[in-house]
């Protein structure tokens, strides 16, 4: 071992990113490239009765207008959101009904504005309520989780509990909004399709395009050299790549489709709103007797996606009587999908807020309450944990944060017009890993080439995989070259579910370890093309584990609530994580802090609204949907424990891309309660809600 793993190695692509030479999907110029601009539906439900393209085609520079009447026919996709321009049906507002292809961006936009679409509009329903008549219990929630789990007699046990919390929380729709909008550039040449796309995994993009266009996969090359963030919304192909491929085939030109920012919320997926009801029944010593978490959410008319927000309650705490339920209503809304920590982020907001309410009810310190409910095995499955250091995270966080001696009384710390408070919440995220292939080649010059179709969406995949390879080969990091981000490379799964590094790293490790063995047995100089070893982790990475495998963490927040303006400021945010072995201290810290920053947004500023009249998200751009800015982020610290777990993968790592968001909103909300004595149960905690709450406190 040379000790590359764990070192704070600098990002391999860093110099390109700071110099502006890193190329993203819109930046592959080729002669004759055209630009395309989609036309979104103006009705939320109905049929297109006519598309008048004459005025658009008369705009100088417009090359073509694709509609459902003339667009290439596609095979039916597994994902109905990709059946673009195939029929007249409009399943939600913002659904694309035409695409204008033009010589320039300006002409494409002017052309799109000139397309006249008429509709046969129908009554729409986009408003989710817990008592919506269309609510049903699905077969399963996202991730293949059963919709319902029950143990014992949760209602009876709750009724006879010494202490009870019965509360409802609401998390609004949320938008991923990566800084790079969804973008693809496509080119057809001699029946071969080449695509540059902004995606978390090009393998899935190629597979979907092959199906849609009836092509064999070896006639399609998809690359994602650099990706300007995804956060789940680029996990599978989105409309941009299908439209770009269609337009390029139709016009015979390379075509770029860069989706305008305000079109994104309707077509790239969103975190669905979740309505939570939590019932916690406990003994006077704080031990839970009954835990019931029921979630109601929405999905679209064309695709069932159920945010698995009650699932973390199956993992977190020991309680003999439990029920977790997901319910969903199919409405005339855009299709929801993955957003960073689907399930865990909204679910743990609700569960960890309710735990705080229980702590207040019982007069028990909230850190201590969680420690008292630490389970011996995973509560729902009964499986032992491969490793679980939640208590250690809570203790270490409390020590670093200065939690000890905290005055539990709410609403008593004043600094002028400010009320001050602190809060804590736990976090969890499952360990996921998938099979992958990779090759490692020893080159005559003494360097090594690792090839794998991993995708670096900003996590530092190139860097950390090179570190894994260097250690498996026992050579210095500088001798490893790495290629990622293309379907021309050995196939590998997407960057999602915090599984990328575990999945890719396993294959890179095996390829490099295999190459090291081969080199050990090799006599003489290397052949000109070098010596290669190919690894495939199928059968190993996807083998069932006897263990429950999850990362855990603890979040602590300090807030100041302005009693005049209602503004909440987070002075300090501190996270401690137990996520297996940390493979690169520098990039890992950035991921943890990034997740916590998004959690801060979820707590205070981010919230979307489904407009009942128009059937669309009201907050559709970055001027109305407020992601955190520099001034919102004062001190954020991330720390981790040295966690050894031999039941994960050869590196001993758990995923780290999502857990940072998971407990953050609850920690901030709990701190706001500690500051003000007001329990706000609907996110985000905007000044209007805070002021209303403070007003209610006075009366």
């Amino acid at each position: 071992m040379t000790g590359s793993v764990g070192a704070p190695a600098e990002r391999r692509e860093g110099r390109e990113k700071v110099s502006g030479t890193a190329r993203y999907a819109a930046e592959f110029h080729s002669p004759g490239r055209a630009q395309a601009w989609p036309v979104p539906s103006r009705v939320a439900r109905g049929r297109v009765t006519g598309v008048d393209t004459a005025a658009a085609l008369a705009v100088p520079g417009v090359i073509a207008v694709l509609t459902h009447e003339n667009a290439p026919r596609l095979a039916e996709p597994d994902d109905p959101t990709l059946a673009l321009l195939q029929n007249a049906r409009v399943p939600h507002r913002g659904w694309f009904v035409a695409l204008v292809v033009a010589e320039t961006l300006e002409a494409a936009r002017a052309g799109a504005a000139a397309v006249r679409v008429t509709y046969d509009a129908e009554e729409h329903d986009v408003t989710l309520t817990a008592s919506h008549p269309g609510v049903y219990v699905p077969e399963e929630a996202n991730g293949g989780h059963p919709a319902v789990r029950e143990q014992g007699d949760p209602d009876g046990a709750f009724g006879s509990s010494a202490a009870r919390v019965d509360v409802a929380y609401r998390v609004p729709p949320l938008h991923n909004h990566p800084m790079e909008p969804h973008t693809s550039t496509a080119r057809w040449e001699d029946g071969t399709l080449t695509v540059h796309t902004s995606s978390q995994g090009t393998g899935a993009v190629r597979a979907v395009l092959a199906g849609l266009f009836g092509l064999s996969r070896d006639r399609i090359v998809v690359t994602a050299e650099h990706v300007g963030g995804g956060f789940g919304s680029k996990g599978t192909p989105r409309p941009d790549v299908v439209l770009a491929a269609m337009a390029a085939r139709e016009t015979g030109r390379p075509v770029t489709v860069a989706l305008p920012r305000r079109f994104l919320p309707a077509v790239v997926g969103h975190r669905a709103p979740t309505l939570h009801r939590l019932r916690l029944g406990a003994e006077t010593d704080g031990r839970l007797v009954s835990l019931v978490h029921e979630v109601t959410t929405h999905t679209s008319r064309i695709k069932e996606f159920v945010e698995q927000a009650a699932v973390p309650a199956r993992v977190m705490y020991a309680a003999p009587h439990t029920r977790t339920v997901h319910r969903v209503a199919a409405l005339d809304v855009p299709s929801p999908s993955w957003m960073r920590a689907p399930g865990e982020a909204p679910g743990m907001y609700a569960l960890e807020s309710a735990m705080d309410e229980l702590a207040t009810e019982l007069g028990i310190d909230p850190v201590e309450l969680r420690v008292r409910n630490e389970p011996d095995v995973e509560p729902d499955s009964g499986r032992p944990f491969s490793s679980r250091h939640l208590v250690e995270c809570l203790r270490e966080g409390a020590r670093r944060f200065g939690w000890t001696g905290r005055d539990p009384r709410p609403g008593v710390r004043r600094d002028g017009p400010l009320l001050l408070g602190t809060g804590v919440a736990a976090a969890t995220y499952p360990v996921m890993v998938g099979p992958s292939t990779a090759t490692a080649r020893a080159l005559p010059g003494g360097s090594f080439l690792v090839r794998i179709n991993a995708t670096d969406i900003g996590t530092g995949a190139r860097t950390v995989l090179a570190q894994v390879g260097a250690d498996a080969l026992g050579v210095p990091l500088e001798r490893i070259r790495i290629e990622v981000g293309s379907t021309e490379l050995p196939s590998a799964p997407l960057a999602g579910g915090s599984s990328g590094t575990a999945s890719w790293g396993w294959a890179v490790h095996d390829a490099c370890a295999g190459l090291a063995r081969r080199l050990a047995g090799h006599v003489g100089t290397l052949p000109g093309q070098g010596l290669e070893f190919r690894a495939d982790t199928t059968g190993a990475a996807d083998a069932e584990s006897d263990f429950a495998r999850h990362a855990f963490g603890a979040h602590f927040a300090e807030v100041a609530v302005d009693t005049v303006t209602g503004e909440v400021r987070v002075g300090r945010l501190l996270g401690v994580y137990a996520a297996g072995r940390i493979l690169n201290a520098r990039t890992a810290r950035s991921q943890f802090v990034g997740g916590m920053t998004m959690g801060l947004g979820m707590a205070l500023t981010e919230g979307s609204t489904m407009d009942a009249a128009f059937g669309d998200f009201t907050e559709s751009d970055l001027a109305s949907y407020h992601v955190p800015v520099h001034a919102d982020v004062a001190g954020i610290e991330a720390h981790w424990l040295d966690e050894e777990d031999s039941r994960l993968n050869p590196m001993g790592s758990k995923g780290i891309g999502e857990i940072g968001i998971v407990g953050t909103a609850a920690a901030i909300g709990n701190a706001v309660h500690h500051a003000t004595g007001v329990r706000l149960r609907e996110l985000p905690l905007t000044p209007d809600r805070v002021l209303t709450g403070l007003l209610g406190r006075r009366t």
């Binding site: 700071v18 110029h29 800084m179 300007g228 963030g229 860069a258 950035s590 970055l622």
Partner: protein, 176 residues
């Protein structure tokens, strides 16, 4: 060719080099840089002046290049992130500080953050106050850039990866 009246010859100096182009009056500086000059360092995040990813310097001041019609900038001096890097091998101190601090992840907002920070340094040196500058500070004197000033002044540059703390540290590193 009736549309010719919608174009004008425009000369811009970009990263020290003059460029004379016949520019569509609707073309914004960002698209001119990216599409006509192949300078794709400036990024398009929103096209509406809401995210700052397109920030470049025009006559030394930072601007959202997606909000400026290129034809209105005839004779202006434009500096992009590529120009900051210069011809040599040596990166600008801000670029080096961003690398050393790991002040980015996906990299899409990074050129805008760096150009914006370059603008901030110049504005503070020239005595421009911000929302958080002490109102009784002497007018026209250089404004000391503490952490709060940096955060306030860079708040027009969004970063969804949440690299804010590292960006503020990187900017602090290069304060003279």
């Amino acid at each position: 060719m009736g549309n010719l009246q919608h174009h004008s010859r425009t000369t811009l100096r970009v990263n020290g080099k003059p460029h004379t182009l016949t520019v569509d009056h609707r073309r914004v500086l960002l698209d001119l840089l990216r599409e006509d000059l192949g300078l794709t360092g400036a990024k398009k995040g929103c096209d509406h002046g809401q995210c700052g990813a397109c920030t470049v310097l025009v006559d030394g001041r930072r601007v959202n290049s997606c909000l400026l019609f290129a034809v209105a900038l005839d004779g202006c001096e434009v500096t992009t992130v590529e120009g900051l890097f210069g011809d040599g091998e040596e990166p600008h101190p801000l670029q080096r500080a961003f690398l050393e601090r790991d002040a980015f992840q996906c990299g899409y907002c990074t050129p805008g953050q760096i150009c914006s920070a370059a603008g901030v340094l110049a504005e503070a040196a020239a005595g421009h106050p911000s929302h958080v500058t002490d109102p009784v500070a002497p007018s026209g004197e250089p404004v000391p850039l503490d952490r709060e000033e940096i955060r306030e002044r860079l708040s027009g540059n969004l970063c969804r990866c949440g690299a804010y703390p590292r960006i503020a540290e990187a900017v602090e590193d290069v304060i003279p």
